[in-house]
Symmetry: C2
Subunit: 678 residues, 2 copies
């Protein structure tokens, strides 16, 4: 006895997108199907609270519908839990939980929208010796005559081969329809662009009448959250413009694995994911060339880096093999492709260079970052870490270089943290706790003053305190540890409730309240647990590579990526996120992957270098190593259960070490298990 599915109209504001949906559809699914951006980091479990919306009540004549909050199914258990825990405003609902029961006009709040706009990637200053794959050659040829009736492009090709000494020069067939008019327009003098990539045959790829002054290339870092692109002059090697945008694939899944599972569940949608990232890149290119008064047709080359899933999705490859062991890449070696075959709107003859991937979880972005930092040309030992949902770890020097990835999860990006959010205005990014009063003071993105400084109160109203971002969480947990609010094993000490009202009981655990005006921002025991899991995984991966390398000496730590640029090395070390090392040897290196992409764009020697490095690098699969689990357990403690951190102890006054009950046998664990079986 089936019932015909009833339908309801839903309009999302401020975008104005609308659609008709079967009753019972979760609102978040409806939003995604329309391409409406609603953030969600917990995978629709009603935990992260990012997907809040409100219902606009009333009759909307233009839409011919009556919208009511009652047209959403009542709150689920998860939603009620979140609402009580986080003081969710009464008119807000979690769109992942709320199911459509009737016509609706839905308002996606601006605080959800703003996160989308913040892109913090920029080109790092770096001199790159220009020797790009594109060279410009001015040349004149004879007018055709009937005595030697050879094709215009064949005569041109031959003249170019003679002038450049490139006997095996060929031409891109894309030139066939244009060559005659260009030659005639230039009165038989033209400028030719020749693409020469390492050992591939040289190819004539573009042609202009008369003289052509400048041609450009783009270097693109496709992050799962952000796409950053740099426009570079291929002759002088200068980066002339940079721009970034959100990766529109976010609407198919917040993190890598949710996108992989989206494709697994919806194989027919793979082209949508591919198209969305290519479209975003095309839009970025439009902006970049506009910025410098150039044209798309002036862009002749492009390099791309990204993690393996981004790499595969950009190329139109189904990433599902990357979702499970043995994490098989479809393609890992460097490749030269035609930009037009990737639907990139550049010069029709433009080429693309894909930097090589290192392994199934260590992508071309890690290869590019390695190129940018070149630990393989140094005697001292470098640890290079790019922290994201997966941490990519490179360790070694000119003698040996090792690579691995470690599944840190999205905690460092603010997901799985009750008050967490991405680095965006309103997020707490710095935090200190007074060891006497146990009072916090903090800095919020978008306001220059700290919370205890003059002017903060006036300015904070415009941005609000909306959450806590990755660097803020690191500092909060580390400061709580230094202040004695949490033990070495990461447990919030309930006894401290006697000293400060900020330590509050939450069921059987405790929390620390940072702010209560407007949105409550607290560090919960589960938040600390998430950070411990993330940093423990990262540290265990590093330790494993140190085991393999046969030395625990470490001279330099380089933290790549946005997260690495914003965290304070000292706090990262107090937390035990990175191993012990002279503190002045630790530095953020910004968008090292983007720097590597620019290097490969502008200098072919760097292409050879990165290809050789990726061939030589030793890939360690952490999941296969029996010692990983042991390292991981030890790394759950702050900073570590067994490692002494001598450099850190000379710089920071750490709390005394105590005996830590074995993780996995803690009282909390036992209690929970008993409850389930009871």
């Amino acid at each position: 006895m089936t019932e015909t599915a009833k339908l309801a109209k839903v309009v999302f504001q401020p975008s104005g997108r609308r659609g008709t949906f079967a009753l019972g559809t979760p609102l978040l699914d409806a939003a995604r199907s329309l391409g409406v951006y609603v953030e969600s980091v917990c995978g629709g479990r009603g935990i992260c609270g990012r997907c809040q919306i409100s219902v606009s009540e009333g009759t909307f004549a233009k839409e011919n519908l009556t919208s009511s909050a009652e047209h959403l199914e009542g709150a689920s258990e998860a939603e009620n839990r979140y609402a009580s825990l986080r003081n969710m405003a009464a008119d807000r609902r979690l769109s992942c939980q709320a199911k459509i029961l009737g016509d609706l006009v839905v308002d996606v709040p601006t605080d959800a929208q703003t996160n989308r706009q913040v892109v913090r990637k920029r080109a790092e200053a770096r001199h790159i010796e220009p020797d790009s794959a594109i060279s410009l050659v001015g040349i004149g040829i004879d007018e055709p005559d009937m005595e030697t009736p050879r094709g215009d492009i064949d005569r041109l090709r031959e003249a170019l081969a003679t002038k450049t000494g490139l006997a095996d020069l060929t031409f891109d067939p894309i030139l066939l329809p244009q060559v005659q008019s260009i030659l005639r327009k230039g009165k038989w003098r033209v400028t030719a662009a020749i693409h020469q990539h390492l050992n591939a045959p040289p190819v004539l790829v573009a042609l202009w009448p008369g003289e052509k002054e400048a041609v450009y290339g783009i270097a693109v870092d496709i992050g799962s959250t952000t796409i950053a692109a740099h426009l570079c002059n291929l002759q002088n090697g200068r980066t002339v413009a940079s721009a970034g945008t959100s990766n529109p694939q976010i609407r198919f899944g917040e993190d890598l694995m949710s996108r992989v599972s989206y494709v697994q569940m919806n194989p027919a949608k793979l082209p949508d994911l591919t198209r969305s990232v290519r479209d975003a890149i095309n839009a970025l290119v439009g902006k970049l060339v506009d910025d410098v008064g150039a044209e798309r047709a002036d862009v002749l080359d492009a390099t791309f880096v990204g993690n393996p899933v981004m790499h595969h999705l950009f190329l139109g490859i189904d990433p599902v093999e990357l979702g499970g062991a043995p994490f098989a890449l479809a393609a890992s070696d460097a490749m030269v492709l035609n930009a037009r075959d990737l639907a990139l709107d550049l010069n029709p003859g433009a080429r693309v260079y894909m930097l090589p991937c290192i392994a199934g979880h260590v992508g071309a972005d890690a290869a590019a970052a390695t190129l940018a930092e070149s630990p393989y040309s140094r005697d001292d030992i470098t640890l290079l870490v790019d922290v994201g949902t997966n941490a990519e770890i490179i360790l070694g020097n000119r003698d040996r270089l090792l690579a691995a990835s470690s599944p840190t999860g999205p905690a460092f990006e603010g997901a799985e943290i009750s008050s967490g959010q991405r680095a965006a205005p309103g997020a707490i990014e710095r935090l200190r706790i007074d060891k006497e009063t146990l009072e916090p003071r903090f800095k919020v993105i978008g306001v220059d003053e700290w919370s205890d400084e003059e002017g903060f109160t006036e300015k904070i109203d415009s941005v609000g305190v909306t959450g806590i971002c990755g660097s803020g969480i690191i500092e909060a947990v580390a400061e709580m540890f230094l202040a004695g609010l949490i033990t070495e094993d990461g447990v919030i000490d309930g006894a401290m409730a006697e000293r400060t009202p900020r330590v509050q009981a939450r069921g059987r655990t405790f929390s620390y309240v940072i702010a209560e005006d407007g949105v409550e921002i607290s560090i919960l025991q589960t938040d600390i647990r998430a950070i411990q899991l993330a940093k423990g995984a990262l540290y265990a991966g590093v330790k494993l590579l140190q085991d393999k390398l046969g030395t625990y000496r470490l001279d330099r730590i380089r933290l790549a990526g946005a997260f690495g640029s914003y965290i304070d090395p000292k706090y990262a070390m107090i937390l035990g996120l990175i191993p012990d090392c002279p503190l002045d040897g630790v530095a953020g290196v910004g968008n090292a992957a983007g720097t590597g992409a620019r290097m490969a764009l502008l200098n072919r020697g760097h292409r050879r270098e990165v290809e050789q490095t990726v061939r030589d690098i030793e890939k360690i699969e952490t999941a296969l190593e029996p010692k990983f689990q042991e390292h991981f357990v030890n790394a759950m403690a702050l900073p570590n259960k067994v490692d002494p951190f001598p450099n850190l102890r000379t710089a920071v006054d750490l709390p005394p070490r105590d005996a830590l009950p074995e993780v996995g046998n803690s009282g909390g664990e036992r209690r929970r298990r008993r409850r389930r079986s009871g």
Copy 2:
């Protein structure tokens, strides 16, 4: 004072295509804009009579219009002339002359339609040693493991490079999205197709799970009238299916130059011409693979030949430079292209080999015919002629080979001939004249019996006698010459009217009536003049090459193309269409261009051979040679004013030679000039 254009609805039957047109639009233009096939060979001058249509009168409820013959503008002077001369049926109109004045339902008669269907190209029997550019390699690779996390396609490429010894093997990026599923489906055993063209790097272009038995290639001859395609097994070299179709570009212009001028007048329509020929080829491929139970994806390679205009239009190149001196080709050398870049629906990794063009008027079809006949590997001297609107002429032996083209015009294809038509049922293809009675007897395509044989009268009713095709005109003029009906200078002798009523005065000249039942079929003085101009141009081109070669010795004549296959060598020689030569040394070689295309498809040695031949061949531009005009004037006579034709005279009893008044100073010419100025 402009008047708003009024519109009329026009429906063409039997196709049912319909459109709305401004009043005053010629009906032929309306038909073409809708893609309705209406033959026309005279360029809309009201001369050829091929574009006849009739108007269906009455009110058509379904179409909501009333159609009337009065909705076409009254007959033009040209149309009246044609109608009186050729006894056009009262209900017929010439669509090139008739302009739309109101709503119409137009019937395109079946006799116009049938011409479209007749395609006489087939694969000539020829053994070709198989050594194609595609090789199949079966290979197994290890399953991926986490210890060596290299891309599946990179491991496959490397294993293939090792197995085949092709160190510089690359892969077509089209394989990227497929490689993982194919490897897994084949349980890590696959069959790879590798493309290896001469000195280009080898490329992995296709992949199948497990074993793959047969792969195919197509060899295509793109004629301006007909497209012929052969499907060949790339492993054993066998031609397994052949098919032909009309070139749909005909609707943009009957002959080459009318298509060039169409593009010149309508540059935005160039993609339409390109698309139409590619679509036709895709349809042919569909038919060919269906015939043998294969699939499009089994087609891995393709070769194409055609004259320079067909070559350029197929590649999407504007052919206008070919329309005037110096007839500059955009591209002439052989090329390897991706089939997908030409919108060919074959295997996505399929390659295309374009045979080289020799000169602006001597195309890849002539190069292919030269490959098929290989005069360059013989001691005796060969003349190879492909007669079309342009005759392509190759002369020489292993010591020297010369090439030229000569503008014969479309007379040999039945155009510019009052009763002319293409080789199709109803066309007179053979003709004899009794020297005593001066009575003709003839053979019609579609009827086995000659017109004086038993059974002819009964059978002819079903096809009718509709016109005279190229081979029929050759024989008619030659037989009229042998019978004394025309003089050596090609003038129909009015004195013969005393001996036969078939010689009739037409104004100041005479005609010879072949048939009068139904359609009148006559040879007019202007018809003979057209044939003289065509054969004179061809002969002059040959003579010029003989001058250059330094010998008039000729051992073999090879007549390529449909026309060459159907004309009788003896009559061609009587007419002076070809030079004197032992009669048994003359042979038709059918679709030699198609044979050459198959040779280049199936054997890479033949590609090298044709490329070398085209490089070495000496190109002679007849228009630049001062002696061309003299040769042309002499060649207007039957068989020739100065050349003795000793071999022909031993075989045929030619009329005695007489003094010919100089062409250009003939009485007729003078009279006409006087009339114009008067």
